[in-house]
Symmetry: C2
Subunit: 117 residues, 2 copies
């Protein structure tokens, strides 16, 4: 079987929910729910809260990764959802999680990209 | 000061060095050297070796992240280097690390993208 490229969605989203950008706690609960809901397999995570506010987090999955880097001082974050299509096609899951991220942050503007890789 | 978008380089690279795709040990040494060389700040990492070969790794940096997902059975890996330009412009570092990754794997073909975000 040939390599089945996955879908990599990347966004820079703008939000007025600055408390969600300040600390990782809400994000952590939210993304764990998503990972469970879609039966993804997390094999590690690294989350760092900056002392001055904002956080950076990467969730390592057998299916690839989810990452977020927040900038509360600018009211934005950069966020990636990248799921491989090795065992099954995860494209719908990738899109559903990115949609859930926009709902979570109540995004009012975003610049987004989609890569097949 | 306005938000200073960073440079996000993404590649799918093909290599004949299948031993470098099988296990994370060589990658781990290599990328730690790069992180030190360019004085980046790693705040966490998650590395998972698959029992059947291949590995997935994310390195969480205060500057954003580096990720890799290898597919030894296809002789390829997907790799990202994303460094913000918050405190200083890291564009040259982002490009140097991606070039070092291609050297490390002796890439013979790649599909690459560059995003400003």
């Amino acid at each position: 079987m040939e390599y089945q490229p996955g879908l990599h969605l990347l966004t820079t989203l703008y939000t007025d929910k600055s408390e969600l950008l300040q600390h990782s706690a809400n994000w952590k609960n939210f993304i764990q729910e998503q990972i469970s809901k879609y039966q993804l397999t997390e094999v590690g995570q690294a989350i760092h809260d900056f002392p001055t506010g904002g956080f950076t987090a990467v969730h390592c999955l057998t299916e690839s990764h989810i990452s977020i880097h927040t900038w509360p001082e600018y009211g934005l974050c950069t966020c990636d959802v990248f799921l491989s299509n090795f065992k099954k096609n995860n494209d719908n899951t990738t899109q559903s999680i990115m949609a859930a991220i926009h709902d979570f942050f109540e995004t009012h503007r975003h610049e987004s990209h989609m890569l097949r890789r």
